[in-house]
Symmetry: C2
Subunit: 247 residues, 2 copies
Amino acid sequence: MTYCVGLLLDQGLVMLGDTRTNAGFDNISCFSKLQKFHVPGERLIATLSAGNLAISQAVLNLIQEGLPDPETGQVETIYTVPTMFRAAALVGEAVRRVHKTHGEAMKQQGVGFDVSIMLGGQIAGRTLRLFHVYAAGNFIEATTDTPYLQIGEHKYGKPMLDRAITSGTSLIEGVKLALISMDSTLRSNLSVGMPLDLLVYRKDSIDGVVEQRMDEGDEYFAMIRERWSKALSEAHQRIPAPDWLSP
Amino acid sequence: MTYCVGLLLDQGLVMLGDTRTNAGFDNISCFSKLQKFHVPGERLIATLSAGNLAISQAVLNLIQEGLPDPETGQVETIYTVPTMFRAAALVGEAVRRVHKTHGEAMKQQGVGFDVSIMLGGQIAGRTLRLFHVYAAGNFIEATTDTPYLQIGEHKYGKPMLDRAITSGTSLIEGVKLALISMDSTLRSNLSVGMPLDLLVYRKDSIDGVVEQRMDEGDEYFAMIRERWSKALSEAHQRIPAPDWLSP
């Protein structure tokens, strides 16, 4: 499994993923789920992926090698698509190509065609957007009503986001909340593991991107874990007792 | 779906369940998942159930009507079993009976045999115990290492319990934490719904049991929701910003 979260905020984009890949509990490895496609001054696009690693690696290769546009026939890559909508469509088309190549054989082996790809970014002069591409190649987009997307093991980390995230949340608060959401997931589910990969992009900057890998010893993440647990513990103790229960 | 949580604390037992039952999103109803079997001065046993409603209702009927003990042949009910271990075995036996009666026909209709029953309580002079009975009729027990059990839609409400619950948690803090865990689930999952049924039992009291139904207008639950959201929001804002991210 995997846990990845993306926040589309007024100030910019936060994308965070773990790095655990597993084929059974007795076979775990470390693979980054975050990939960046940056053309300085022109575009900043990033992906997070969950599901079958062979599928997501194939998709990421295809969008860099390029696929013909179904209408014009012209080959497009993630570095040349003119809009973020076309970028999402390119990822979807790549997912369908991989399904065409490997889907039937995987089915015969009893392996489901399981992949989810989150795609966020901005092309100079255009809007910052965030998409979730499904295994069928279709996709949805984050909006101001629900400015976050999750893929993988999403349930543990969702309540915190539901309570706190709006598109007006600042980039810094967004980073903290994404890390808290990840911490809640890490504590409860073994299939999600450190290190973490974080990307923070400031809207309209194209080159204003910060990337951070956080391993077990990361001081900032350790501080968040500790402060958050302490704050929660104090918070429930400060809530008054019900009057129908004697002490 | 359903969300139920049980806490086995040094001071006693907390059991909390929602009341939503659904057969598809367009067919939801209200059924209590909490049932109490009380013989004043002698025993206090309670169940919470999740899964297929027809199965759990049949099981609850069977344990009250009685089943023969597989070894002695003597008919036992939830009101006569001599120990909590035998109570859990009785529930397991009832689950297997229901499977024998309906399992094959359900399978033919493509309906899974899905049921989970939590069983907690105390018989006078014996230990307070909490069990989780599976669809195969086998069961596990809460211990001091992990003093809580969950059935149904457990993921949303788990991080809070993992962070805060130990067997030394007081009954009052336990009630607050169970309600916070339920609130996290209610906010994120439509298949879990109000009103809530809560049972609080003080260890060794047998008759020291408090039951509370909380509906949409419940003031205490509304206060917990509001104070908790506010406390969380203040907590993440108080965490310092990372030095690798400029404001």
